[in-house]
Amino acid sequence: MVNIRRIGEEQRVRETSKDVAKGGAQQTPESNGMTVEDLSAFYGSFKAVTDVNMQIKRNKVTALIGPSGCGKSTYIRCLNRMHEVIPGAYAEGKVALDGQDIYAKGADPVNIRRRIGMVFQKPNPFSKSIYENVAWGAKINGYRGDMDELVERSLKQAALWDEVKDRLKESGYSLSGGQQQRLVIARTLAVEPEVILMDEPASALDPVSTQKIEDTMEDLKKKYTVVIVTHNMQQAARISDYTGFFYIENMGDPGRLWEFDETSKMFSNPDRKETEDYVTGRFG
Protein backbone atom coordinates (compact mmCIF):
# COMPACT_ATOMS: atom_id res chain seq x y z
CA MET A 1 0.00 0.00 0.00
CA VAL A 2 2.55 2.46 1.21
CA ASN A 3 4.86 1.73 -1.68
CA ILE A 4 2.19 2.10 -4.29
CA ARG A 5 1.18 5.45 -2.93
CA ARG A 6 4.71 6.68 -2.93
CA ILE A 7 5.19 5.63 -6.53
CA GLY A 8 2.03 7.45 -7.45
CA GLU A 9 3.31 10.59 -5.81
CA GLU A 10 6.63 10.41 -7.51
CA GLN A 11 4.92 10.01 -10.81
CA ARG A 12 2.83 13.09 -10.16
CA VAL A 13 5.85 15.14 -9.21
CA ARG A 14 7.66 14.03 -12.32
CA GLU A 15 4.72 14.93 -14.49
CA THR A 16 4.46 18.36 -12.97
CA SER A 17 8.10 19.15 -13.51
CA LYS A 18 7.83 17.85 -17.06
CA ASP A 19 4.99 20.28 -17.64
CA VAL A 20 7.00 23.16 -16.34
CA ALA A 21 9.98 22.20 -18.43
CA LYS A 22 7.91 22.03 -21.59
CA GLY A 23 6.35 25.36 -20.83
CA GLY A 24 3.32 26.99 -22.46
CA ALA A 25 1.26 25.08 -24.92
CA GLN A 26 0.34 21.74 -23.43
CA GLN A 27 -0.47 22.81 -19.91
CA THR A 28 -3.93 23.29 -18.62
CA PRO A 29 -4.64 27.01 -18.18
CA GLU A 30 -5.29 26.62 -14.45
CA SER A 31 -1.84 25.29 -13.60
CA ASN A 32 0.04 28.00 -15.43
CA GLY A 33 0.33 31.62 -14.30
CA MET A 34 -2.85 33.44 -13.37
CA THR A 35 -6.37 32.94 -14.61
CA VAL A 36 -8.91 35.71 -14.21
CA GLU A 37 -12.59 34.89 -14.65
CA ASP A 38 -15.49 37.37 -14.66
CA LEU A 39 -13.71 39.78 -12.37
CA SER A 40 -15.56 42.96 -11.40
CA ALA A 41 -14.25 45.61 -9.00
CA PHE A 42 -16.27 48.04 -6.90
CA TYR A 43 -15.75 51.15 -4.80
CA GLY A 44 -18.81 50.95 -2.57
CA SER A 45 -21.75 50.99 -4.98
CA PHE A 46 -19.64 52.24 -7.89
CA LYS A 47 -18.57 49.55 -10.33
CA ALA A 48 -15.16 50.51 -11.70
CA VAL A 49 -14.28 47.41 -13.73
CA THR A 50 -16.56 44.72 -15.08
CA ASP A 51 -16.27 41.14 -16.27
CA VAL A 52 -12.60 40.81 -17.01
CA ASN A 53 -11.38 37.45 -18.31
CA MET A 54 -7.67 37.08 -18.81
CA GLN A 55 -4.98 34.43 -18.98
CA ILE A 56 -1.70 35.71 -17.57
CA LYS A 57 1.12 33.46 -18.76
CA ARG A 58 3.93 32.38 -16.52
CA ASN A 59 7.33 34.00 -17.13
CA LYS A 60 5.86 36.46 -19.59
CA VAL A 61 5.30 40.20 -19.38
CA THR A 62 1.69 41.22 -19.73
CA ALA A 63 1.08 44.93 -20.35
CA LEU A 64 -2.19 46.70 -19.58
CA ILE A 65 -2.86 49.84 -21.60
CA GLY A 66 -5.79 52.18 -22.10
CA PRO A 67 -6.99 55.72 -21.49
CA SER A 68 -6.90 57.19 -17.96
CA GLY A 69 -9.74 56.23 -15.66
CA CYS A 70 -10.73 53.03 -17.40
CA GLY A 71 -9.86 50.72 -14.53
CA LYS A 72 -6.36 49.41 -15.29
CA SER A 73 -4.98 50.32 -11.86
CA THR A 74 -8.11 49.09 -10.09
CA TYR A 75 -7.89 45.84 -12.01
CA ILE A 76 -4.21 45.20 -11.31
CA ARG A 77 -4.83 45.85 -7.61
CA CYS A 78 -7.43 43.07 -7.66
CA LEU A 79 -4.77 40.59 -8.74
CA ASN A 80 -3.13 40.51 -5.29
CA ARG A 81 -6.13 41.58 -3.20
CA MET A 82 -4.68 45.05 -2.75
CA HIS A 83 -7.90 46.66 -3.97
CA GLU A 84 -9.79 45.74 -0.79
CA VAL A 85 -7.30 47.67 1.36
CA ILE A 86 -9.23 50.82 0.40
CA PRO A 87 -12.25 51.21 2.70
CA GLY A 88 -15.46 50.17 0.93
CA ALA A 89 -13.66 48.58 -2.02
CA TYR A 90 -14.24 44.95 -3.00
CA ALA A 91 -14.02 42.60 -5.96
CA GLU A 92 -16.19 39.79 -7.36
CA GLY A 93 -15.17 36.91 -9.57
CA LYS A 94 -12.31 34.49 -9.64
CA VAL A 95 -8.57 35.06 -9.77
CA ALA A 96 -6.53 31.88 -9.70
CA LEU A 97 -2.80 31.61 -9.15
CA ASP A 98 -1.60 28.19 -10.31
CA GLY A 99 -5.15 26.93 -10.06
CA GLN A 100 -5.86 28.25 -6.56
CA ASP A 101 -8.53 30.93 -6.29
CA ILE A 102 -7.05 33.82 -4.29
CA TYR A 103 -10.58 35.03 -3.52
CA ALA A 104 -11.68 31.65 -2.20
CA LYS A 105 -13.09 31.50 1.31
CA GLY A 106 -10.22 31.08 3.75
CA ALA A 107 -7.59 32.34 1.30
CA ASP A 108 -5.27 34.58 3.30
CA PRO A 109 -4.59 37.93 1.58
CA VAL A 110 -1.36 38.31 3.57
CA ASN A 111 0.05 35.09 2.14
CA ILE A 112 -1.25 35.94 -1.34
CA ARG A 113 0.50 39.30 -1.36
CA ARG A 114 3.75 37.64 -0.39
CA ARG A 115 3.41 35.45 -3.50
CA ILE A 116 2.16 38.27 -5.73
CA GLY A 117 4.26 41.37 -5.14
CA MET A 118 3.45 44.89 -6.25
CA VAL A 119 5.33 48.02 -7.32
CA PHE A 120 3.36 51.24 -7.21
CA GLN A 121 3.18 54.34 -9.36
CA LYS A 122 4.81 56.59 -6.80
CA PRO A 123 8.02 55.26 -5.26
CA ASN A 124 7.16 54.39 -1.66
CA PRO A 125 10.31 53.37 0.19
CA PHE A 126 9.85 52.89 3.92
CA SER A 127 11.33 55.46 6.26
CA LYS A 128 14.23 53.12 6.96
CA SER A 129 17.74 52.59 5.65
CA ILE A 130 18.34 51.22 2.16
CA TYR A 131 19.39 47.90 3.66
CA GLU A 132 16.37 47.72 5.96
CA ASN A 133 14.03 48.60 3.11
CA VAL A 134 15.11 45.47 1.26
CA ALA A 135 15.46 43.23 4.32
CA TRP A 136 12.19 44.18 6.01
CA GLY A 137 9.83 42.10 3.89
CA ALA A 138 12.09 39.06 4.14
CA LYS A 139 12.34 39.52 7.91
CA ILE A 140 8.61 39.62 8.54
CA ASN A 141 8.19 36.58 6.33
CA GLY A 142 10.60 34.65 8.52
CA TYR A 143 13.54 34.40 6.11
CA ARG A 144 16.23 32.29 7.78
CA GLY A 145 19.01 32.55 5.21
CA ASP A 146 21.90 34.97 4.86
CA MET A 147 20.26 38.38 4.92
CA ASP A 148 23.28 40.31 3.60
CA GLU A 149 23.44 37.98 0.64
CA LEU A 150 19.70 38.35 -0.04
CA VAL A 151 19.89 42.14 0.11
CA GLU A 152 22.84 42.23 -2.26
CA ARG A 153 21.24 39.80 -4.70
CA SER A 154 17.94 41.70 -4.72
CA LEU A 155 19.63 45.06 -5.25
CA LYS A 156 21.69 43.58 -8.08
CA GLN A 157 18.57 42.18 -9.73
CA ALA A 158 17.03 45.64 -9.58
CA ALA A 159 20.21 47.17 -11.08
CA LEU A 160 20.77 49.35 -8.03
CA TRP A 161 23.60 47.59 -6.20
CA ASP A 162 26.51 49.51 -7.74
CA GLU A 163 24.93 52.84 -6.89
CA VAL A 164 24.13 52.07 -3.25
CA LYS A 165 26.61 49.43 -2.05
CA ASP A 166 28.65 52.01 -0.12
CA ARG A 167 25.67 53.71 1.49
CA LEU A 168 23.37 50.90 2.60
CA LYS A 169 22.86 52.54 5.99
CA GLU A 170 21.53 55.77 4.52
CA SER A 171 17.81 56.47 4.40
CA GLY A 172 15.85 55.21 1.42
CA TYR A 173 14.75 58.79 0.92
CA SER A 174 18.29 59.94 0.20
CA LEU A 175 17.95 58.30 -3.22
CA SER A 176 16.63 59.94 -6.39
CA GLY A 177 13.15 59.09 -7.64
CA GLY A 178 14.41 56.56 -10.16
CA GLN A 179 16.67 54.92 -7.57
CA GLN A 180 13.80 54.82 -5.07
CA GLN A 181 11.66 52.98 -7.58
CA ARG A 182 14.42 50.43 -8.18
CA LEU A 183 14.79 50.12 -4.40
CA VAL A 184 11.09 49.29 -4.21
CA ILE A 185 11.57 46.69 -6.96
CA ALA A 186 14.49 45.20 -5.01
CA ARG A 187 12.32 45.13 -1.89
CA THR A 188 9.61 43.30 -3.82
CA LEU A 189 12.09 40.77 -5.23
CA ALA A 190 13.56 40.10 -1.78
CA VAL A 191 10.47 38.22 -0.61
CA GLU A 192 10.79 35.99 -3.69
CA PRO A 193 7.29 36.35 -5.11
CA GLU A 194 5.99 34.37 -8.07
CA VAL A 195 4.24 37.26 -9.78
CA ILE A 196 5.17 40.95 -9.83
CA LEU A 197 2.50 43.54 -10.50
CA MET A 198 3.66 46.99 -11.59
CA ASP A 199 1.26 49.92 -11.64
CA GLU A 200 2.85 52.51 -13.95
CA PRO A 201 6.25 52.02 -12.33
CA ALA A 202 8.02 54.50 -14.60
CA SER A 203 5.39 57.20 -14.97
CA ALA A 204 7.06 59.52 -12.48
CA LEU A 205 10.59 58.93 -13.76
CA ASP A 206 12.97 60.47 -16.26
CA PRO A 207 13.90 58.59 -19.48
CA VAL A 208 17.23 57.32 -18.12
CA SER A 209 15.62 55.81 -15.02
CA THR A 210 12.83 54.41 -17.15
CA GLN A 211 15.41 52.74 -19.36
CA LYS A 212 17.06 51.15 -16.34
CA ILE A 213 13.77 49.80 -15.08
CA GLU A 214 12.89 48.43 -18.50
CA ASP A 215 16.28 46.71 -18.65
CA THR A 216 15.66 45.03 -15.31
CA MET A 217 12.27 43.81 -16.51
CA GLU A 218 13.95 41.93 -19.33
CA ASP A 219 15.82 39.95 -16.65
CA LEU A 220 12.83 39.68 -14.36
CA LYS A 221 10.68 37.72 -16.74
CA LYS A 222 13.18 34.88 -16.77
CA LYS A 223 12.18 34.15 -13.19
CA TYR A 224 8.91 35.92 -12.63
CA THR A 225 5.53 36.52 -14.18
CA VAL A 226 5.14 40.26 -14.69
CA VAL A 227 2.00 42.36 -15.17
CA ILE A 228 2.54 46.05 -15.87
CA VAL A 229 0.16 48.96 -16.29
CA THR A 230 1.61 51.63 -18.55
CA HIS A 231 0.57 54.77 -20.38
CA ASN A 232 3.64 54.57 -22.53
CA MET A 233 2.77 52.79 -25.78
CA GLN A 234 6.38 52.29 -26.86
CA GLN A 235 7.15 50.81 -23.48
CA ALA A 236 4.32 48.32 -23.78
CA ALA A 237 5.44 47.37 -27.28
CA ARG A 238 9.09 47.03 -26.23
CA ILE A 239 8.83 45.00 -23.08
CA SER A 240 5.64 42.97 -23.15
CA ASP A 241 4.66 39.64 -24.64
CA TYR A 242 0.93 40.12 -24.18
CA THR A 243 -1.11 43.30 -24.11
CA GLY A 244 -4.55 44.01 -22.72
CA PHE A 245 -6.43 47.12 -23.80
CA PHE A 246 -8.91 48.58 -21.31
CA TYR A 247 -11.60 50.89 -22.58
CA ILE A 248 -14.82 52.61 -21.57
CA GLU A 249 -17.26 53.01 -24.42
CA ASN A 250 -19.76 55.36 -22.80
CA MET A 251 -19.10 57.83 -19.99
CA GLY A 252 -20.11 56.39 -16.64
CA ASP A 253 -19.81 52.74 -17.68
CA PRO A 254 -17.36 50.52 -15.82
CA GLY A 255 -14.06 49.78 -17.52
CA ARG A 256 -13.80 46.64 -19.67
CA LEU A 257 -11.00 44.57 -21.09
CA TRP A 258 -11.63 45.54 -24.68
CA GLU A 259 -9.05 43.36 -26.36
CA PHE A 260 -6.33 41.02 -25.19
CA ASP A 261 -3.77 39.34 -27.38
CA GLU A 262 -0.10 38.93 -28.13
CA THR A 263 1.63 42.28 -28.14
CA SER A 264 2.85 41.96 -31.71
CA LYS A 265 -0.72 41.48 -32.92
CA MET A 266 -2.16 44.21 -30.70
CA PHE A 267 0.23 46.77 -32.11
CA SER A 268 0.15 45.72 -35.75
CA ASN A 269 -3.21 44.21 -36.50
CA PRO A 270 -5.68 44.46 -33.61
CA ASP A 271 -9.20 43.08 -34.05
CA ARG A 272 -11.06 46.10 -32.77
CA LYS A 273 -11.07 49.59 -34.14
CA GLU A 274 -10.77 51.31 -30.71
CA THR A 275 -7.61 49.34 -29.99
CA GLU A 276 -6.09 50.41 -33.27
CA ASP A 277 -7.06 54.04 -32.70
CA TYR A 278 -5.48 53.96 -29.26
CA VAL A 279 -2.21 52.23 -30.10
CA THR A 280 -1.69 54.48 -33.12
CA GLY A 281 -2.22 57.53 -30.92
CA ARG A 282 -5.47 58.73 -32.46
CA PHE A 283 -6.92 59.28 -28.97
CA GLY A 284 -6.12 58.76 -25.30
Binding site: M118, F120, S127, R187
Partner: protein, 311 residues
Protein backbone atom coordinates in the same frame (compact mmCIF):
# COMPACT_ATOMS: atom_id res chain seq x y z
CA UNK B 1 -13.40 106.20 -31.44
CA UNK B 2 -15.43 104.32 -28.87
CA UNK B 3 -14.67 101.11 -30.71
CA UNK B 4 -11.00 101.67 -30.02
CA UNK B 5 -11.56 101.77 -26.26
CA UNK B 6 -12.76 98.17 -26.27
CA UNK B 7 -9.70 96.85 -28.02
CA UNK B 8 -7.07 95.09 -25.95
CA UNK B 9 -3.93 97.04 -25.13
CA UNK B 10 -5.47 100.45 -25.74
CA UNK B 11 -7.78 100.95 -22.80
CA UNK B 12 -9.47 104.28 -22.21
CA UNK B 13 -7.62 106.05 -19.36
CA UNK B 14 -10.79 107.91 -18.36
CA UNK B 15 -12.48 104.65 -17.30
CA UNK B 16 -9.60 103.40 -15.14
CA UNK B 17 -8.72 105.50 -12.12
CA UNK B 18 -7.22 103.75 -9.19
CA UNK B 19 -6.47 105.93 -6.18
CA UNK B 20 -2.85 104.86 -5.83
CA UNK B 21 -2.08 107.16 -2.92
CA UNK B 22 -5.01 106.01 -0.79
CA UNK B 23 -4.36 102.35 -1.45
CA UNK B 24 -0.67 102.74 -0.56
CA UNK B 25 -1.64 104.49 2.66
CA UNK B 26 -4.12 101.77 3.55
CA UNK B 27 -1.52 99.13 2.82
CA UNK B 28 0.96 100.80 5.14
CA UNK B 29 -1.66 101.26 7.86
CA UNK B 30 -2.65 97.60 7.83
CA UNK B 31 0.98 96.46 7.91
CA UNK B 32 1.64 98.65 10.94
CA UNK B 33 -1.45 97.34 12.71
CA UNK B 34 -0.51 93.69 12.17
CA UNK B 35 3.08 94.36 13.21
CA UNK B 36 1.86 96.10 16.37
CA UNK B 37 -0.14 93.04 17.46
CA UNK B 38 2.70 90.69 16.58
CA UNK B 39 5.17 92.71 18.66
CA UNK B 40 2.65 93.08 21.48
CA UNK B 41 2.54 89.34 22.11
CA UNK B 42 6.32 89.02 21.85
CA UNK B 43 6.89 92.01 24.15
CA UNK B 44 4.49 90.61 26.73
CA UNK B 45 6.48 87.38 26.85
CA UNK B 46 9.69 89.37 27.06
CA UNK B 47 8.24 91.43 29.91
CA UNK B 48 7.34 88.32 31.87
CA UNK B 49 10.80 86.84 31.36
CA UNK B 50 12.41 90.15 32.38
CA UNK B 51 10.42 90.31 35.62
CA UNK B 52 11.36 86.69 36.33
CA UNK B 53 15.04 87.43 35.73
CA UNK B 54 14.96 90.65 37.76
CA UNK B 55 13.35 89.06 40.82
CA UNK B 56 15.53 85.98 40.47
CA UNK B 57 18.68 88.12 40.56
CA UNK B 58 17.35 89.89 43.68
CA UNK B 59 16.76 86.51 45.27
CA UNK B 60 20.23 85.23 44.53
CA UNK B 61 21.75 88.35 46.14
CA UNK B 62 20.51 86.95 49.44
CA UNK B 63 20.62 83.20 48.89
CA UNK B 64 23.67 81.51 47.30
CA UNK B 65 22.69 79.83 44.03
CA UNK B 66 24.40 76.63 45.13
CA UNK B 67 22.23 76.40 48.25
CA UNK B 68 19.15 76.91 46.12
CA UNK B 69 19.96 74.34 43.42
CA UNK B 70 21.37 71.60 45.63
CA UNK B 71 19.77 72.17 49.03
CA UNK B 72 17.50 69.41 50.22
CA UNK B 73 15.26 71.39 52.59
CA UNK B 74 12.65 73.87 51.45
CA UNK B 75 11.13 76.02 54.20
CA UNK B 76 11.08 79.66 53.18
CA UNK B 77 8.65 81.19 55.69
CA UNK B 78 10.40 80.01 58.82
CA UNK B 79 12.69 81.86 61.20
CA UNK B 80 15.64 79.73 60.10
CA UNK B 81 14.58 79.69 56.45
CA UNK B 82 16.11 77.25 53.99
CA UNK B 83 15.82 77.45 50.22
CA UNK B 84 16.86 74.10 48.78
CA UNK B 85 14.59 73.60 45.75
CA UNK B 86 15.25 69.88 45.28
CA UNK B 87 12.15 68.69 47.22
CA UNK B 88 9.95 70.79 44.91
CA UNK B 89 11.69 69.48 41.78
CA UNK B 90 11.35 65.97 43.17
CA UNK B 91 7.60 66.49 43.72
CA UNK B 92 7.19 67.76 40.19
CA UNK B 93 9.20 64.93 38.65
CA UNK B 94 7.40 62.27 40.70
CA UNK B 95 3.88 63.36 39.76
CA UNK B 96 4.97 63.92 36.15
CA UNK B 97 6.53 60.46 35.95
CA UNK B 98 3.36 58.83 37.26
CA UNK B 99 1.28 60.85 34.80
CA UNK B 100 3.58 59.98 31.90
CA UNK B 101 3.50 56.28 32.81
CA UNK B 102 -0.28 56.43 32.41
CA UNK B 103 -0.69 58.81 29.51
CA UNK B 104 2.10 57.95 27.06
CA UNK B 105 1.35 54.26 26.51
CA UNK B 106 -2.43 54.64 26.67
CA UNK B 107 -2.38 57.73 24.48
CA UNK B 108 -0.15 56.09 21.86
CA UNK B 109 -2.15 52.86 21.77
CA UNK B 110 -5.39 54.83 21.51
CA UNK B 111 -3.89 56.81 18.63
CA UNK B 112 -2.82 53.65 16.80
CA UNK B 113 -6.28 52.17 17.28
CA UNK B 114 -8.06 55.31 16.11
CA UNK B 115 -5.90 55.77 13.04
CA UNK B 116 -5.29 52.19 11.91
CA UNK B 117 -8.02 49.98 13.28
CA UNK B 118 -11.16 51.95 14.12
CA UNK B 119 -13.88 51.91 11.43
CA UNK B 120 -14.26 55.29 9.73
CA UNK B 121 -17.61 55.96 11.38
CA UNK B 122 -16.31 55.23 14.85
CA UNK B 123 -13.22 57.37 14.32
CA UNK B 124 -15.39 60.25 13.18
CA UNK B 125 -17.07 60.62 16.57
CA UNK B 126 -14.49 59.03 18.87
CA UNK B 127 -11.77 61.56 18.10
CA UNK B 128 -13.82 64.71 18.79
CA UNK B 129 -15.14 63.00 21.93
CA UNK B 130 -11.56 62.46 23.05
CA UNK B 131 -10.71 66.08 22.38
CA UNK B 132 -13.66 67.23 24.48
CA UNK B 133 -12.09 65.30 27.35
CA UNK B 134 -9.11 67.65 27.02
CA UNK B 135 -11.44 70.56 27.76
CA UNK B 136 -12.53 69.41 31.22
CA UNK B 137 -11.37 72.06 33.74
CA UNK B 138 -8.43 70.73 35.74
CA UNK B 139 -10.04 71.77 39.02
CA UNK B 140 -12.67 69.12 38.33
CA UNK B 141 -9.94 66.54 37.84
CA UNK B 142 -8.32 67.72 41.07
CA UNK B 143 -11.40 67.16 43.20
CA UNK B 144 -12.05 63.91 41.36
CA UNK B 145 -8.60 62.74 42.45
CA UNK B 146 -9.10 63.86 46.04
CA UNK B 147 -12.67 62.71 46.67
CA UNK B 148 -12.98 59.68 44.40
CA UNK B 149 -9.65 58.18 43.42
CA UNK B 150 -7.81 58.59 46.72
CA UNK B 151 -10.48 56.72 48.76
CA UNK B 152 -10.49 54.05 46.05
CA UNK B 153 -6.70 53.69 46.24
CA UNK B 154 -7.07 53.57 50.03
CA UNK B 155 -8.79 50.20 49.62
CA UNK B 156 -5.67 48.83 47.97
CA UNK B 157 -2.88 50.69 49.71
CA UNK B 158 -3.68 50.96 53.38
CA UNK B 159 -1.90 53.85 55.00
CA UNK B 160 -2.13 56.03 51.92
CA UNK B 161 -2.07 59.71 52.81
CA UNK B 162 -5.21 61.76 52.08
CA UNK B 163 -3.04 63.98 49.93
CA UNK B 164 -0.67 61.86 47.86
CA UNK B 165 1.42 61.94 44.72
CA UNK B 166 -0.02 58.74 43.25
CA UNK B 167 -3.61 59.87 43.02
CA UNK B 168 -2.69 63.29 41.65
CA UNK B 169 -0.26 61.74 39.15
CA UNK B 170 -2.74 59.14 37.91
CA UNK B 171 -5.48 61.71 37.34
CA UNK B 172 -2.99 64.04 35.68
CA UNK B 173 -2.17 61.14 33.37
CA UNK B 174 -5.84 60.79 32.49
CA UNK B 175 -5.92 64.51 31.85
CA UNK B 176 -3.08 64.36 29.29
CA UNK B 177 -4.22 61.21 27.48
CA UNK B 178 -6.34 63.22 25.01
CA UNK B 179 -3.43 65.53 24.20
CA UNK B 180 -1.06 62.64 23.56
CA UNK B 181 -3.65 60.58 21.68
CA UNK B 182 -4.91 63.42 19.53
CA UNK B 183 -1.51 64.78 18.47
CA UNK B 184 -0.04 61.30 17.84
CA UNK B 185 -3.15 60.30 15.93
CA UNK B 186 -2.73 63.28 13.63
CA UNK B 187 0.87 62.24 12.98
CA UNK B 188 0.03 58.57 12.42
CA UNK B 189 -2.96 59.34 10.22
CA UNK B 190 -0.80 61.65 8.09
CA UNK B 191 1.55 58.82 7.07
CA UNK B 192 0.88 58.35 3.35
CA UNK B 193 -1.31 55.43 2.29
CA UNK B 194 1.45 54.42 -0.14
CA UNK B 195 3.72 53.36 2.74
CA UNK B 196 1.02 51.13 4.20
CA UNK B 197 0.33 49.59 0.80
CA UNK B 198 4.05 49.01 0.29
CA UNK B 199 4.01 46.97 3.48
CA UNK B 200 0.88 45.02 2.57
CA UNK B 201 2.35 44.27 -0.87
CA UNK B 202 5.21 42.40 0.82
CA UNK B 203 2.83 40.17 2.72
CA UNK B 204 2.83 42.10 5.98
CA UNK B 205 -0.08 41.79 8.38
CA UNK B 206 -1.99 44.81 9.59
CA UNK B 207 -0.15 44.73 12.91
CA UNK B 208 3.25 44.60 11.23
CA UNK B 209 2.34 47.52 8.99
CA UNK B 210 0.96 49.55 11.90
CA UNK B 211 3.75 48.98 14.38
CA UNK B 212 6.79 48.61 12.14
CA UNK B 213 6.12 50.97 9.24
CA UNK B 214 3.49 53.51 10.20
CA UNK B 215 4.55 54.23 13.79
CA UNK B 216 8.27 54.65 12.93
CA UNK B 217 7.32 56.94 10.07
CA UNK B 218 5.25 59.06 12.46
CA UNK B 219 7.87 59.03 15.21
CA UNK B 220 8.63 62.75 15.17
CA UNK B 221 4.96 63.62 15.60
CA UNK B 222 4.59 61.01 18.34
CA UNK B 223 7.64 62.42 20.14
CA UNK B 224 6.12 65.88 19.86
CA UNK B 225 2.90 64.61 21.45
CA UNK B 226 4.89 63.05 24.30
CA UNK B 227 6.77 66.29 24.98
CA UNK B 228 3.55 68.27 24.82
CA UNK B 229 1.94 65.88 27.29
CA UNK B 230 4.92 65.95 29.66
CA UNK B 231 5.10 69.75 29.46
CA UNK B 232 1.46 69.92 30.46
CA UNK B 233 2.13 67.60 33.39
CA UNK B 234 5.14 69.64 34.55
CA UNK B 235 3.17 72.86 34.38
CA UNK B 236 -0.11 71.45 35.71
CA UNK B 237 -1.15 73.27 38.86
CA UNK B 238 -4.70 72.70 40.01
CA UNK B 239 -4.68 68.92 40.30
CA UNK B 240 -1.48 68.77 42.32
CA UNK B 241 -2.42 71.78 44.45
CA UNK B 242 -5.66 70.06 45.41
CA UNK B 243 -4.73 66.39 45.61
CA UNK B 244 -0.97 65.98 46.10
CA UNK B 245 -0.65 67.80 49.38
CA UNK B 246 1.69 70.64 50.21
CA UNK B 247 4.61 69.08 51.98
CA UNK B 248 7.99 69.86 50.44
CA UNK B 249 9.52 66.47 51.18
CA UNK B 250 10.99 63.47 49.41
CA UNK B 251 7.88 61.39 50.00
CA UNK B 252 6.98 58.16 48.25
CA UNK B 253 4.04 57.96 45.82
CA UNK B 254 1.65 57.25 48.69
CA UNK B 255 2.73 60.30 50.67
CA UNK B 256 2.27 64.03 50.29
CA UNK B 257 4.63 65.96 48.05
CA UNK B 258 4.74 69.52 46.86
CA UNK B 259 5.34 70.43 43.24
CA UNK B 260 6.82 73.73 42.11
CA UNK B 261 3.47 74.87 40.77
CA UNK B 262 1.65 73.90 43.95
CA UNK B 263 4.17 75.86 45.99
CA UNK B 264 3.60 78.98 43.89
CA UNK B 265 -0.15 78.66 44.43
CA UNK B 266 0.27 78.15 48.14
CA UNK B 267 2.47 81.22 48.56
CA UNK B 268 0.60 83.48 46.13
CA UNK B 269 -2.73 82.96 47.86
CA UNK B 270 -1.32 83.52 51.32
CA UNK B 271 -0.53 86.89 52.89
CA UNK B 272 3.04 87.12 51.70
CA UNK B 273 4.18 90.73 51.67
CA UNK B 274 5.66 92.03 48.44
CA UNK B 275 9.42 92.52 48.47
CA UNK B 276 10.13 89.91 51.11
CA UNK B 277 12.35 86.97 50.34
CA UNK B 278 9.37 84.62 50.49
CA UNK B 279 7.70 86.76 47.85
CA UNK B 280 10.78 86.48 45.65
CA UNK B 281 10.72 82.68 45.87
CA UNK B 282 7.58 82.77 43.73
CA UNK B 283 9.60 84.21 40.89
CA UNK B 284 12.63 82.07 41.40
CA UNK B 285 10.60 78.87 41.40
CA UNK B 286 8.68 80.18 38.38
CA UNK B 287 11.96 80.81 36.58
CA UNK B 288 13.15 77.29 37.44
CA UNK B 289 9.94 75.85 36.01
CA UNK B 290 10.40 77.97 32.92
CA UNK B 291 13.95 76.73 32.40
CA UNK B 292 12.81 73.12 32.88
CA UNK B 293 10.12 73.28 30.22
CA UNK B 294 12.51 75.17 27.95
CA UNK B 295 15.09 72.38 28.25
CA UNK B 296 12.35 69.83 27.61
CA UNK B 297 11.32 71.62 24.43
CA UNK B 298 14.89 71.98 23.20
CA UNK B 299 15.51 68.28 23.86
CA UNK B 300 12.41 67.41 21.91
CA UNK B 301 13.53 69.52 18.96
CA UNK B 302 16.91 67.79 18.97
CA UNK B 303 15.22 64.41 19.27
CA UNK B 304 12.80 65.10 16.48
CA UNK B 305 15.57 66.35 14.19
CA UNK B 306 17.74 63.32 14.81
CA UNK B 307 15.08 60.67 14.51
CA UNK B 308 12.86 62.28 11.94
CA UNK B 309 11.87 59.72 9.34
CA UNK B 310 10.77 61.66 6.34
CA UNK B 311 8.34 60.33 3.82
Amino acid sequence: MSVQAGRGGERDPNLWRRNVRASKLRERGVTTLFAAFAYLSILTTFGIVLVLIFETINFFRQVPIFDYLFGTTWRPGFARAEFGVLPLIYGTLLTTAIAAAVALPIGLLAAIYLSEYAPTGLRRWLKPALEILAGVPTVVYGYFALTFLTPLLGNVFTGISTFNALSAGLIMGVMIIPTVASVSEDAIYAVPRGLREGGYALGATKREVATRIVVPAALSGIAASFVLGISRAVGETMIVAIAAGNLAQFGGPLESVQTMTAYIVAVSTGETAAGTITYQTIFVVGATLFVMTLILNILSIIFVRRFRETY
